[in-house]
Symmetry: C2
Amino acid sequence: MKLIEARQQFISSWGAFGTHWGINRTMAQIHALLLVSADPLTQDNMMEELNISRGNANMNIRELIDWGLVERIIIPGERKEYFVAEKDIWKVVKQIVKERKKRELEPMLRLLDQLENVEGDKRDKNIKSFVDTVSGIKKLGKQADKTLDTMVKADENWFIGNLVKMFK
Amino acid sequence: MKLIEARQQFISSWGAFGTHWGINRTMAQIHALLLVSADPLTQDNMMEELNISRGNANMNIRELIDWGLVERIIIPGERKEYFVAEKDIWKVVKQIVKERKKRELEPMLRLLDQLENVEGDKRDKNIKSFVDTVSGIKKLGKQADKTLDTMVKADENWFIGNLVKMFK
DNA sequence: TTGAATTTTCAAAAACTTTTGAAATCTTGA
DNA sequence: TCAAGATTTCAAAAGTTTTTGAAAATTCAA
């Protein structure tokens, strides 16, 4: 398989993959393009390679910066802005985990804390069923939260080393 | 907070949460409703409680069954079908991990295997950048695949026990 | 077997998300 | 300061997904 073709495959699959994870196709494709590019790219480079409009490119690049996955860099003597993606996949994964934890897991746990204190007789089977479900989710959620916290702080070798121990 | 209100909060938040994970709102809400219900529910119960149409209810119930999260049960002497959700959250998580692994991670790893064999001189910086990115993702992906495999087979105490060891 | 109850299907409508592109704003070198 | 180049914004258009509801199919008790 030729490089051009392989790149296209990668970019388009990464885009499709992203849509299963609540990330829009273009954002995932821009990310993929930056991941496989040897050099920094401009917005115009990306617009051309992915066939997307200026507004679309701009919006999604900014969102990637917001997620901490892409960095804007200034090349001295150049007027245009250039962009690069973090290439270390372990760092990318940690960054995504960190953001999703903050944006989704933590608010959910705060809600569950409140919901657990529902009024009424715990012997009522409807109340019991509600409280049991909420407590169960909370318990697993809190554990996941702690685990992810530690993971975000860890380096790759530590992580893989531990997994090997854990699963041998 | 009263039970009715707490249930509504839970159902609506679970729905919003689901949309961040590529699951549609209604499917997540039906799941939430079944999770907090003490008794099996019919399709009509769910239509009424969630204010959704017959077709919508039917489609999403079937999708939940497809994911292995909900079971259809027949109550002797009753004409209607009843539904219950798996209440053990650890089992729910394992089931979701198992399905997503099969539907998303495994196909992605098969693609990466192919893309790694791109033709050309590995000293060309464009080829190097592509191959390095693909290899890096593949390496982490394979590790995740193994880990999730073990997790899917494990029971909760084993899992939490190990995490505690790992992170103490 | 029949027919009322129930479930399933699916085309069209509604809702929601993404993309476009032109205008507005900002930036910087001369 | 100016103006050309670059970036950002955002309303409208296009595209996608979800929902509806009525018709078709299926089920089952009598």
